[in-house]
Amino acid sequence: MFDTILTWLLLIKCVGALLCIIRVLIGPTHSDRIAALDTLGLMLIGFVGILMILQDTMAYTEVILVVAILAFIGSVALAKYLERGNLFDRD
């Protein structure tokens, strides 16, 4: 019962991630794509969280932290690159 509900919740989260991927593919501007990829990273965190309960293991906690950090750094770097054209200012 518990595992069945968790599997259905994973499937529902897959629909949410699919909507994000649709926006990444059809997004009219680059900012839309960056926002959708950021949201996709956050959904991946929740996905791995449910997977930890489903498989009854705590081996994925570092995976969650690394995905969170990489999503944030990627979004900030891409936004900064769009804004100025270079990532590191020298002056």
Binding site: G16, A17, S31, T39, I53, A68, K80
Partner: protein, 122 residues
């Protein structure tokens, strides 16, 4: 199912609903600013609820206090608004227009000021 499993299921279900709301808002809203409005708050709430459920599960089923999950909650809570702010500010500065239905643009005088005198910034 025990009571603690019901509590975990409720937390996970509400978090999944927030996640679905973020996806629907991302697809259906008209411009990038309203999409960021939809995804930032909903995805943060989703991650916080799901990670709280994971923490409660390991605390009550295995008597394990996993601090890294709490650290993930804190990190997501701090960094998602910053990422949304940076994305929307870069979108505004490179001139992506708002949607036709938008009625107010409160940032316009400030950025006109900045464009008129670029040497004052930086």
């Amino acid at each position: 199912m025990t009571a603690i499993e019901w509590i975990i299921i409720i937390f996970l279900a509400v978090g999944t609903l927030f996640s679905i709301a973020a996806g629907i808002g991302l697809v259906r809203f008209p411009d990038v600013y309203s999409r960021l409005h939809a995804t930032g708050k909903n995805a943060t709430a989703s991650v916080i609820l799901i990670m709280s459920a994971t923490f409660i599960y390991f605390l009550y089923e295995h008597q394990l206090f996993i601090g890294k999950i709490l650290l993930t909650i804190l990190f997501v809570f701090l960094t998602t608004p910053v990422a949304a702010l940076l994305i929307s500010r870069s979108a505004y500065r490179i001139g992506i227009p708002m949607s036709k239905e938008s009625v107010r643009d409160e940032m316009k005088p400030y950025y006109d000021n900045e464009k008129a005198s670029p040497a004052k910034n930086e």
